[in-house]
Amino acid sequence: MKCFLIAVLIVGGMAVATAAADLDEVVARGELVWAADQEGGGPHVFPDPANPRQLTGFEVDLAALLAEELGVKPRFQQGQWDRLPLLLGRTADCVINGIELTPERQRDNHCSRPYFAYSLQLIARRDGPIDALGKLAATGPKGRWRVGVLTGSAAESVMRSRTDLEVDVIGYDGTIDSLEQLSTGVLDAAVMDDCIFTFYADRFSRLRTVERPFAGGFYTILTARDTPRLSAAIDAALGRLIADGRLKALYDRWDLAGRQQMLLLRDAGEVPIARQKSLGELCRDTLPLLIRAAGMTVLLSCLSFPLAVGIGLAVAVGRMYGPPLLKPLLTGYVEVLRGTPLMLQLYAIFFLLPKIGLALPALVAAIVALALNYSAYESEIYRAGLKAVPPGQFEASLSLGLSKWQALRHVLVPQAVRIVMPPVTSDFIALFKDTSVCSAITVVELTKRYSVLALSTGRIVELAVVTALLYLCMSWPLAMLSRWFEQRLERPAAGHGLTEG
């Protein structure tokens, strides 16, 4: 516990030490660095289809207007959407990216006056059963409805707070991932800001909006708490843009109902600021969730790794002892899986396979992807292990009348397994941590749960330490177990020494 507190103090201290750039520094630098996520970012911030090297979007225009008001040039900083606030005071001066105004965000950062009014829209398949929000109040033929949202968005928190609905809320890292999954039938519905769906609707001809938007709020510009002059300057600049009609003209240009926006912004009320929880309260509220997520991490690794080892061993044996025709195929298998990112493989299995009619549940897709990816590495380890067994062992087996496969099964593989124990253990621990990429396909494991909780509570450092400790609590015993197993295999059978000869 003492170490924990020291770690919190050290990391916390480092965070405080990086002071954010206030207005004077921005002006001196001549640049306003604004952060956003251009991935699936329409209509806010997205690569111009005509010239993908150029960013466009209504927030690009807004950033340009604001920078102009401050007398500087705008500079764009890319970031993962749900982690954008973390860039404040480090690589960005402000975040302009459809950030919804919430009490939590008001507590953790400075939130500017609203610059846009969004509405939450329910989306479903044209041929699907969801034709009203009320349909979600009772379970469907396959149990609870599966509803996709953008991780960390207002849509997510609104849907998670709706205990009156029979829904499993599934968070995605990409804005339109949920639309892809809804199209292929993995989800029953999606909820997102209406302007986003309007922008992408042409791509998803099978989808439609369900009823009118059912909730809404305002977008705000985030700045760090310790840059009051910059925050004030941005608020003042927004005020001028609203007053002289430039903001309305901007929205009209983007077909975003400029007049309606102005009416809504005029009525924008104050949002209450949330209270900071004590460390005890924080742990009490978050630890059960983190531990449950750690269970998912264990489940993913313990189911995928044995598969990876099994496939890897089979591939290694096939490459070394299999028929000649099989060898180039297996070599290709290893090189493709080893040479492409795990993340891409996850996406391929989860998002592409449903297009050819093979929709795997997220958990199964995650296990399959991890097992396949790691099988390539395991096969190389086993190939090395098999090569390290002296050739005389194989000849001795054959000379006793064993077939090639019997020799492998009873002599070569058991010895190779002992040789490769240390690197295989190391890979298990690596896979254990790599399970965190599965959050990209909606599997909520420890790292994902941490991100969600850290962002919703704003307690990034404390929860990071708790999460790291949970990882250690799991990987340490694992390492001990495998070392024990290794020693057990090495130990000569008991009872007999060199008393003869």
Partner: protein, 227 residues
């Protein structure tokens, strides 16, 4: 029991065996002698199909080998009848002494674990190592390991036993203990072919000596005539 006729073998355009013919009747011990590189070990390894040959023929333990590659099924049947002991012992490092001996009877002949173990213990007894049944090879001396290797080959009850310089990796004391076992086998009527540099041993155990030089048979006959 063993017939080799006009055997030739080349490796990378070099003749390693040239027109080698010999015969070994049941219950005889044939010693292959000659300088290093004369083809003794290659000839021995041809006898159980660990090496192929280019022309000629081999009949061993009732199985016939022809030039070129051999069918796996034929080799598996042949090797059940032709055991081999290696210069470097090649004991299975992950198995205890008795399991080294019992593995092939269990896996190849289909004996139950208990029967295979019993056979293993009997054979370890025969080579004087019953009390080391559960020791790992790494904890045994070279002589002990080679005796376990002999027991392992005998476990398949082969009609012919091949020894490839069985004592070259051993010091004199260990050599003596291994040779004692081989002489014992000869006395029991086991048909054997032994590659050796040890002329005293060849004189004592062999009924027939074949001397190879540069891949050809230089001389062959009773030990007293050749050595």
């Amino acid at each position: 029991m063993i017939t080799v006729s006009s055997l030739t073998k080349s490796r990378a355009h070099v003749r390693v065996l040239e027109d080698v013919s010999l015969a070994g009747a049941e219950g005889t011990v044939t010693a292959l002698v000659g300088p290093s590189g004369s083809g003794k070990s290659t000839l021995l390894r041809c006898l159980n199909g660990l090496e192929t040959f280019d022309s000629g023929g081999i009949t061993v333990g009732g199985h016939r080998l022809t030039p070129g590659s051999h069918a796996p099924a034929l080799l598996e049947r042949l090797r059940c009848d032709v055991g081999m002991v290696f210069q470097q012992f090649n004991l299975f490092a992950h198995l205890s002494a008795v399991n080294n001996v019992a593995l092939a009877p269990r896996v190849v002949l289909g004996l139950s674990s208990a029967d295979a173990r019993a056979r293993g213990l009997d054979l370890l007894d025969r080579v004087g190592l019953r009390s080391f049944a559960d020791a790992r090879p790494a904890t045994l001396s070279g002589g002990q390991q080679q005796r376990v290797a002999i027991a392992r080959a005998l476990a398949m009850r082969p009609r012919v036993m091949l020894f490839d310089e069985p004592t070259s990796a051993l010091d004199p004391a260990m050599t003596a203990e291994v040779l004692e076992v081989i002489v014992e086998l000869a006395r029991d009527g086991q048909t054997m072919v032994v590659v050796t540099h040890d002329h005293a041993f060849a004189k004592r155990a062999a009924s027939h000596v074949v001397e190879l030089a540069a891949g050809r048979i230089a001389r062959q006959g009773p030990p007293a005539d050749v050595l």
